[in-house]
């Protein structure tokens, strides 16, 4: 049953990911954003299968909620027209596809060459919220605090960047 769900969610993730980057029917950025949201939701399903329940919730709240709304706001703000079919650079497309294909082959081959030592599927730790929070506030307290400063810096930077008279 779990295997079935894995294949379902993996197929959904990859299909929607493909439709984000290369939708053959519609090149509107809004469509890409919607498929990105679907990719993220199905990836949250994969997280649930991996017993990372808290991260699945965070994934949906932060990515599918906040980040996607930000993307859609900007798309609507810029009022982008449907991307006109420009004369695409054939050489660039072909070389891009070849190089990315080569990287894919290297990845897959590396995964199957390195017979991963940890293949026992016995759940040692459940990714529940409590142990995660305990770890976050004990072992990772300094990175956590640095992260809060980073968020503050990002906020100040965004306010400065979106000023009307940007010098």
């Amino acid at each position: 049953m779990q295997d079935l769900f894995f294949y379902l969610f993996a197929a959904l993730t990859l299909l929607c990911g493909f439709l984000v980057v290369a939708n053959p029917f519609n090149r509107n950025p809004v469509t890409s954003a919607m498929f990105l949201a679907l990719t993220i939701v199905s990836m949250a399903g994969l997280f649930v299968l991996l017993h990372a329940f808290f991260l699945a919730a965070v994934q949906i709240l932060v990515y599918a909620g906040a980040v996607m709304v930000l993307f859609l706001f900007v798309i609507m703000l810029l009022d982008l027209k449907e991307e006109q079919r420009r004369t695409a650079n054939k050489f660039g497309i072909v070389s891009g596809i070849i190089s990315v294909g080569a990287i894919t082959v290297i990845f897959i081959k590396a995964i199957f060459e390195s017979h991963a030592t940890a293949t026992d599927t016995t759940p040692v730790l459940e990714g529940a919220t409590q142990p995660l929070g305990r770890m976050l506030f004990n072992d990772y307290l300094l990175p956590f605090e640095i992260l809060s400063v980073l968020l503050l810096v990002a906020m100040v930077g965004v306010i400065l960047l979106s000023k009307k008279d940007l010098r």
Binding site: D3, L55, Y63, V74, G96, A116, D139, L166
Partner: protein, 101 residues
């Protein structure tokens, strides 16, 4: 065949390469940004899978950090795109050639 670590890693690798393909091929700045998000998500999936099959939670804490940094990165990047659009009226990378030699 039982689903193991390799299955998740293969999905993650394929998703990462899809994102890379989008960054290389697409010409719209916003779609390039979405492809970047796809690549970050692929790395998150690999980290969660490693964390699950190695039996400790360090990977999940790392994913938590990555999600936060990605949110900050998206907000700054989109603000940059909006500022750029105000100046140039375009979100197309081939029109942005000021730094070209």
């Amino acid at each position: 065949m039982h689903v193991g670590l390799e299955h998740y890693l293969v999905v993650s690798a394929l998703l990462f390469c899809l994102g890379l393909l989008g960054v290389v091929l697409r010409r719209n700045l916003l779609v390039i940004y979405m492809s970047l998000e796809l690549m970050l998500n692929a790395s998150n999936l690999a980290l969660v899978a490693f964390s699950r099959f190695n039996g400790h939670l360090n990977g999940q804490v790392m994913v938590f950090f990555i999600i936060t940094v990605a949110a900050a990165e998206v907000s700054v990047g989109l603000a940059l795109i909006v500022a750029l659009y105000r100046k140039r009226q375009t979100a197309h990378v081939e029109d942005l050639t000021t730094m070209k030699l």
